[in-house]
Symmetry: none
Subunit: 152 residues, 2 copies
DNA sequence: GCCTGTGATGTATACTTATACATCGACAAT
DNA sequence: ATTGTCGATGTATAAGTATACATCACAGGC
């Protein structure tokens, strides 16, 4: 039972954003796993999880967030930002979105599909998405929207 | 003063083990830096520090602070520029670093790890690194530093 | 069958971290 | 000179996490 729970924790963390042990507890309960915060604290210690501004992550960045997308399932931008986004910053008419390793491509694809008028184009590295905007003001608009997605 | 403190935090974390904000506060006080836990909490959030079973670690450092560093410890940016960098040019708030084929990714990774405040994000192609800076002035600063690495 | 040791878990709480609110200083605009 | 804005910081406390203690189930030895 414990092993199954540890596996479930890894799956949840590699596909969604988790910012507290209570949040993880609720997500596990949706999967039929019901434990206390104290037990999760021990589990997370045993899994050597890291906690930072972007929430919890599995040790080693390679395995983190590099989930393959369904080819025929257009992702919602909000979900992509939730799952992969770490932080956003504006630089003149550009917006830089930092993601977990491997998360840049799905985020950029979702932005393209969102079709925002304020976005001229996007470029994805491994963990960085560059968003080009027509001017500084609209870059500020985009930055604010992305920031709000990160904060929700 | 704040910048100096942030640098001191990075130095302490890269050379000693820190397992709580109070412990860091005490270590900084020995260096003549006296702030409260609340300020350190904000500083550590701004530095994107990670906390795990092995204590606090800088972003991009070994995923688990409790693990000993192995042979492929993160290289210094200077070495990466020496090994792979060919030339650097500035374009408004962007800096373009041209590398040998295949050298863009290690250079971009090293820049991410360097954690320069002037760098909003980096994007790597095969032989080109695009560095986004907050404004034209700081792009100039970054260009100058990279140029000096190329010349040495 | 009984006893002992071990690992897992929950409860309660100690400990740690994040933040609401207030204050202050620097700076720009008037 | 005055006023307003902004970022930094401290205080107090809310929120989050780690763990002391107790309990239970189970396995192994005798």
């Amino acid at each position: 039972m414990k092993e199954q729970r540890l596996n479930a924790i890894r799956e949840v963390l590699s596909s969604t954003l988790v910012t507290s042990q209570d949040e993880l507890r609720r997500k596990l309960r949706r999967r039929g796993i019901d434990v206390t915060q104290a037990t999760l604290s021990r589990d997370m210690h045993e899994l050597r999880l890291m906690k930072g501004p972007g929430g919890y992550s599995l040790p080693g960045s390679v395995a983190n967030g590099a989930q393959e997308l369904d080819d025929d399932a257009p992702p919602v931008l909000n979900e992509m930002i939730d799952s992969f986004g770490l932080r956003v910053r504006q630089a003149m008419n550009q917006v830089v979105i930092v993601t977990v390793m491997g998360g840049a491509a799905p985020v950029a694809a979702a932005m393209d599909r969102a079709g925002w008028q304020e976005v001229v184009g996007t470029l994805a590295g491994d963990d960085t998405v560059l968003v080009i905007c027509p001017d500084v003001k609209r870059a500020g608009d985009v930055e604010e929207r992305i920031r709000k997605m990160l904060e929700s």
